[in-house]
Amino acid sequence: MRTMMHEEIIFSGFGGQGVLFAGQLLAYCVLTEGRHVTWIPSYGPEMRGGTANCTVVVSDEPIGSPMSQHPSVAVVFNNPSLEKYEAPLKPGGLLVVNESLIVAPPTRTDIEIVILPATTLATELGDTRMTNMILFGALLSRRPLVSVATVEHILIEKLGARQAHLQETNLRALAHGLELGAAQHA
């Protein structure tokens, strides 16, 4: 029902995979670039069993609902998330999948799919926690919601002094994701 730019992005996976952080990172970037943005996590006992997800809405106009029934983008970090969000994704939407933790690949044909073994790649990069940055990169490669420069800048800011040592790996993970995401395009 809309004319102007409006995207609804869901990040979903286990707690500890940096799912919420990925969503917040996007939100901060959008804020810096001056668009309207909302971020909302799933909350409460759903979290039992360790699953976590959040929705980021990016829009050119004030945002009514921060929640989404039919997201335009879903970044799924594990199998339950894939099972949960493949179906509701809106036709033509983008599905970013962490191949490392799924049982069977997505089956929908009316959506755009990027699938990469993020956890394995992260482990190769020497830090499993980089899974989220790799998937984030892949997302950006297909939906340039914000500029890579903004992302790098905010990422460094958010890591801050205490986690400065993680800067480099994070940036490499991000780049890696961008690459692979773009590559699959061709």
Partner: protein, 356 residues
């Protein structure tokens, strides 16, 4: 100070701190717990009082005690916890002590769930507990408005020595949105000569809601009612969008008002003369403005995340002049702009056809 991304619950907590809250007492409950957690971190840092109470019952009575000293005091909870505070609310209102309470509403009845809801409308606007009174009730629809109303809540509580609610739902409590915080206010105490600070060089002060003698208690109630009448006269708050020429006006507060806004804009794009009326003070209900609008519109469409509670107030304000229809979701379901838009179309068509 530039806008930053803030979670509603955290924004409410930090806003209260900036407003000079000296004491926070609370008990964890989803979806407001981040408010308590932020207080747990910040209040001790600032040398202010924080106690995680053994229950909501204890929490509201701790607030009552702290407020008796003239300190700005507050608690926060969600629907079931608010039910447990009813007796405390009634004591606070009866003894005219300023207190602020945040209710981040969730799905009910009973344990229900923790999803966003507006089903405490009756509970907070009618009389929160036994006895004759209404608390002041403010309902923000964004993180920024939550911050602004939180500060205002303390001022109103002090001005009227009354109980003030800030009510939102899990959605506003949990979401992050860009918003700006106010500067830190200095603490100011005692607020009034009525406060309990020790009878040093003055007559003793007593804070009580007890009047065994009926004429005296009626006296107290008349005072209270006069105060409420004054509040009703001067503190009605609402926001409007595209109402000037509207034939159909959607009435919604908080989250449902916010979501309705999207739907109303869409309807306008499609050429329908539709407007939005968003009550900000649920009590006093902005009846003056609404009845004024009643003279002008063809119908009202009330949208709530409950089975129809504010509906009564809209009908009372509309005074039977124009039809008032209702669209609601319950059980923690949040209406999507599309649904509301659909309902607008339906009601709007009724209007135009009936007009023909």
């Amino acid at each position: 100070m530039a806008a930053e991304l803030m979670k509603g619950n955290v924004a409410l907590a930090e806003a209260a701190i900036r407003a000079g809250v000296e004491a926070y007492f609370g008990y964890p409950i989803t979806p407001q717990t981040e408010l308590l957690e932020h207080m747990a971190k910040r209040m001790p840092e600032l040398g202010r009082a924080f106690v995680q109470a053994e229950s909501e019952l204890a929490a509201i009575n701790m607030v009552y005690g702290a407020a008796c000293t003239g300190a700005r005091a507050m608690t926060s909870s969600s629907s079931p916890g608010i039910s447990l505070m009813q007796e405390g609310f009634s004591y606070i209102a009866g003894s005219e002590v300023p207190c602020v309470v945040v209710d981040i509403m969730r799905g009910g009845p009973g344990l229900g769930n923790i999803q966003p809801s507006q089903s405490d409308y009756f509970q907070v606007t009618r009389s929160a507990g036994h006895g004759d009174y209404h608390a002041i009730v403010l309902a923000p629809s964004s993180v920024q408005e939550a911050i602004d109303l939180m500060v205002e809540a303390f001022d109103l509580a002090d001005e009227y020595r009354h109980l003030v609610f800030v009510v939102a739902d899990g959605l506003i409590g949990q979401m992050m949105e860009p918003a700006e915080l106010p500067p830190m206010q200095p603490l100011r105490r005692p607020l009034g000569d009525w406060a309990l600070t020790g009878a040093d060089g003055r007559e003793k002060n007593i804070i009580t809601s007890l009047e065994l003698n009926a004429p005296d208690l009626e006296e107290l109630n008349n005072r209270l009612q006069a105060k409420l009448a004054h509040i009703r006269e001067h503190q009605q708050r609402s926001a409007e969008m595209l109402t000037e020429d509207a034939r159909l006006i959607v009435v919604g507060y908080g989250t449902s008002g916010r979501i309705a806004e999207t739907a109303v804009k869409q309807a306008r794009r499609e050429g329908m003369k539709v407007g939005l009326f968003r009550p900000i003070s649920l009590w006093p209900f902005p009846e003056k403005r609404l009845s004024a609008l009643a003279d002008q519109v063809g119908a009202f469409l009330v949208v709530e995340m409950n089975a129809g509670q504010m509906l009564d107030d809209v009908r009372l304000a509309a005074g039977g002049q124009v039809p008032v229809t209702f669209y609601g979701r319950t059980g923690g379901m949040v209406p999507m702009p599309e649904e509301i838009h659909q309902e607008i179309v339906t009601q709007y068509n009724k209007l135009t056809t009936s007009a023909v």
